[in-house]
Amino acid sequence: MLGLLDEDHLHALASEAVDRRGALRRAGALGAHALLTSVPLALASAVRSVFGQATPPTVTEVLNFALTLEYLEAEFYRQLNASGVPSSREQVVFEAIAAHEQAHVDFLRATLGADAVAAPTFDFTAGGLFDPFNPDRIGPDPDYLKLAQAFEDLGVRAYKGQVANLLGTDVLDAALRIHSVEARHAAFVRSLRSFDPWINRAENTTAVPAFDAVYRGEDEQRQFVRAINLRVNINLPDAYDEPLTGEEVVAVLDRFIV
């Protein structure tokens, strides 16, 4: 979709999105749905503020960012479970995971109300890079498990990167409780692929270069508490999952949004 990492492009689009949102408010409920169907703009808007250098994103922007991620996960598992690709044993668990992700979507949409972004259109082949739902293409290390792992590990880091922006709000509790569920999902999928349930250093066990960014920086050892000038190093990075910024998360998601 959009070249979101191109800053000028992004800012131009985001400004347009903000203008549209302003227009949206003026238009009221009548025009709301039509205007928000332009999902890339809505996403760019949410992302711009998550990127924001000077000011932290609003709660609405953080939740729309989370909603976009949940849309992706829910749709991924919906298509996966309809594909006939997973084993029947796997599918029992994937149905439960799909239900969790859909519940997250429902929760975030209900919380956001009229401010909720619409679901983007997803392409889980990422333009032909993957073939996750093809029953004829299930090898020993199938794409659908690589995608599931990357999405779940990404989700853990994405929520972790936003919890500080939700400090003191009513939705922090739910965000934390989604975050730990994503970690349970991630660990499960990693185990299905016979990898450790946790991330070793910054190892990208999908071996897909497109997912290097999901694991980059996972081996960070420096920990900071800026308000008290505290810096402490940890010894074993595997024992800690690191956050990603909204920008880093969207750069990965971008490939799967049409």
Binding site: R89, Y159, L176, S180, A183, R184, S191, P197
Partner: protein
Amino acid sequence: MPSDPNCAVSHRAVSRRRFLRLGGVAASAAVLAACDSDNEDSDGIEPEDEVVFDFATDFGVLNFALALAQVQAALYTTTTQAPYVGAQTEEQALLDQMLAHENDHRRFLRTAIETAGATPIPALRVDLRTVSFTDRTSVLTTAQQLEDLSVAAYNAAALAVSDPDWLTILGKIVSVEARHATAIRGLIGGDTLFAIGAEDDPATQAVDPGTGLERASSLAEILDRAAPFFTAPLRAVNLPS
């Protein structure tokens, strides 16, 4: 660390106190800072000494997290040193890593609390007498309870934190605890709904099937569930409402 004379003195001194207030700025606990040890067998506080976690400061939260890491490390230390009957190489490798993770959480939390000028709890005396360490089910079920409890504890405790960076740091640890919980659940039940905490049994279920959210407990409930694993009584003050 019995070899540390200061530590021995401070433990004797502390054992005479009715309350040991941790997490705040109470001077009575300050002498313990130098005595925290990686050795779970070192003399902890006497059983009659109450351990108080003061959630009025972020350090109360961090000390509570440290206490949970201590009991998990104690469980994994014991079971990796003397594996249960029928222990497979692969699951031992997982338990070894989980021990290393918990030990790193302990070191990091203690160092962070100290470096920030607050007082970490000492190595608390852990009570694992209910665990039959020769029995795989007993060990793994206890591990599962502790990992699930730890996830719920971090999720609840994070709501009491006031600094955004501490909140993020707690987030870095809780997701690894959730990964541990899944690993242990997988060892118990294989690749099933149980592994992701989505089993039907509400007594053990980790994820609410209706909301897809981690099941939550209040810090008071979590303290009650953690209490049997420590010889000292635990008490929380200034819990978030």
